[in-house]
């Protein structure tokens, strides 16, 4: 496949990535989806989840935290609150966060205002660990 798409990942603190890629997979609100060159214009929101992109046969992954995803003319713009590369993730910290969130969730009732907050924290920690372990296996 000669054609490439331009993938930009932007957070409020920096531009994380701006590179040509062959294929992108991300976790949307409605589930995982993939994008190849020549995709129709698309605008969707992302869940807490991982985003993988293939570049010359090499797949890299990132852990994302809320954002949205726009495809237009083979340009992909991803706006997220945080994006971490697999090698940036501190596995120990993620594990600790997971433990904390689990303990809190056990204490709180699902109606509690903070329940959602910790649920999101739990999810973030899980995604981080998932992405990090993928990188470690390689």
């Amino acid at each position: 496949m000669a054609e490439k798409m331009k993938l930009e990942i932007v957070t409020p603190y920096s531009k994380v990535l701006d590179e040509p890629v062959d294929e992108v997979t991300a976790t949307g609100k409605l589930g995982e989806f993939g994008v190849l060159p020549g995709h129709a214009p698309l605008l969707t929101s992302l869940n807490i989840g991982e985003l993988c992109y293939k570049q010359d046969g090499v797949t890299s992954c990132m852990a994302l935290n809320w954002g949205y995803f726009e495809v237009r003319d083979d340009r992909i713009i991803v706006l997220v609150q945080t994006a971490e590369r697999a090698d940036e993730i501190d596995l120990e910290r993620a594990k600790a966060a997971l433990g904390r969130a689990e303990a809190k969730l056990k204490e709180l009732s699902p109606e509690d205002k903070n329940f959602k907050v910790y649920e999101a924290a739990l999810e973030r920690a899980l995604v981080r660990m998932q992405v990090a372990s993928k990188a470690a296996r390689k």
């Binding site: 932007v10 957070t11 409020p12 603190y13 920096s14 531009k15 949307g28 609100k29 409605l30 129709a40 214009p41 698309l42 605008l43 969707t44 929101s45 949205y68 726009e70 237009r72 713009i77 706006l79 609150q81």
Partner: protein, 290 residues
């Protein structure tokens, strides 16, 4: 004329002051650079956010989002962003005066004006003149996205609960190191960024929206407010350091000038003392001779 000793003491104290202002200038310069980097890093995000909002807003005509809806503006929330610390020239004073004037002028147009302040200086100025409903100190010195998001959520809740019909944020925008722009920006109801006619004609692309336009709007519109507040905070911090740097620079210059003047005065006084002594000796010698 003050005595030699007094002048010398004065010179010493001015020198000390100059040292402090110089150090503060250096610190501000370093902080300014970091603040500027932050703004530059945040700009693409804000711009992209605007683009997406724009493409969404033009497609979602029939289905107005509650935060986009213009209500009759009766109650206004004014969010004033200043700094926690002083010694930065007219930075806080100008902004506070603008806020004060704004409130006085608009008082008749609105039934109620609620004031919220970010930063200690603005609070201290405004609390004596108007009622400040809420103050958020210590937020502005270290702006991060989380605090902006929390603030945005609070404001949106108040807006949806019809505590206010219009929200305006007032802050110093960073223009150059030397100058700041006092900016009134309407946060709510959201004014969809105006699409340029040209880009509308050619750029009208049929997007696939997932899950749906409405659901996307529900997420993006509040996010946009968070981003706007975050941007205002960053701008204000950068402008503050810029203003402090310039103020400290001119203070250092004034101190140097003053030291020069005092040294001249000191030397003159010394000269006068020597001349006086000589005169006494000479006249003494003359009288003995005579």
């Amino acid at each position: 004329m003050p005595s030699l000793k007094a002048i010398k003491k004065r010179i010493g104290s001015v020198k000390n002051t100059r040292q402090i202002t110089k150090a503060m200038k250096m610190v501000s310069a370093a902080k300014l650079r970091r603040a500027q980097d932050n703004i530059i890093a945040a700009r693409p995000y804000a711009r992209k956010m605007e683009e997406v909002l724009q493409s969404l807003a033009c497609c979602a005509e029939g289905d107005r989002h509650p935060l986009l809806e213009v209500r009759e503006a009766k109650r206004l929330l004014l969010l004033v962003v200043t700094s926690d610390r002083g010694l930065c020239g007219g930075f806080n004073a100008n902004l506070c005066k603008a806020a004060d004037r704004f409130i006085r002028e608009k008082k008749s147009e609105y039934e109620e004006i609620t004031l919220m302040t970010l930063g200690r200086k603005g609070y201290e100025f405004l609390k004596n003149r108007h009622t400040v409903t809420k103050n958020y100190p210590n937020l502005i010195s270290k702006p991060n996205y989380q605090t902006a998001a929390l603030l945005a959520r609070e404001i949106i809740e108040g807006y949806e609960g019809e505590q206010y019909d219009q929200v305006i944020i007032l802050y110093n925008a960073f223009k150059t190191v030397m100058s700041q722009d006092i900016t009134f920006q309407q946060l709510l109801p959201v004014v969809p960024p105006e699409a340029e006619a040209a880009s509308l004609d050619e750029g009208q692309v049929e997007y696939i929206y997932e899950p749906s336009v409405r659901e996307l709007m529900d997420e993006i519109v509040p996010k946009n407010i968070e981003v706007q507040i975050f941007k205002a905070m960053l701008e204000s911090v950068a402008a503050e350091h810029g203003a402090r740097m310039t103020a400290m620079d001119s203070a250092s210059k004034n101190a140097s000038e003053m030291i020069g003047k005092l040294t001249l005065q000191y030397n003159r006084a010394r000269q006068a003392a020597i001349t006086k002594e000589l005169m006494e000796i000479i006249s003494g010698a003359e009288s003995i001779k005579g």
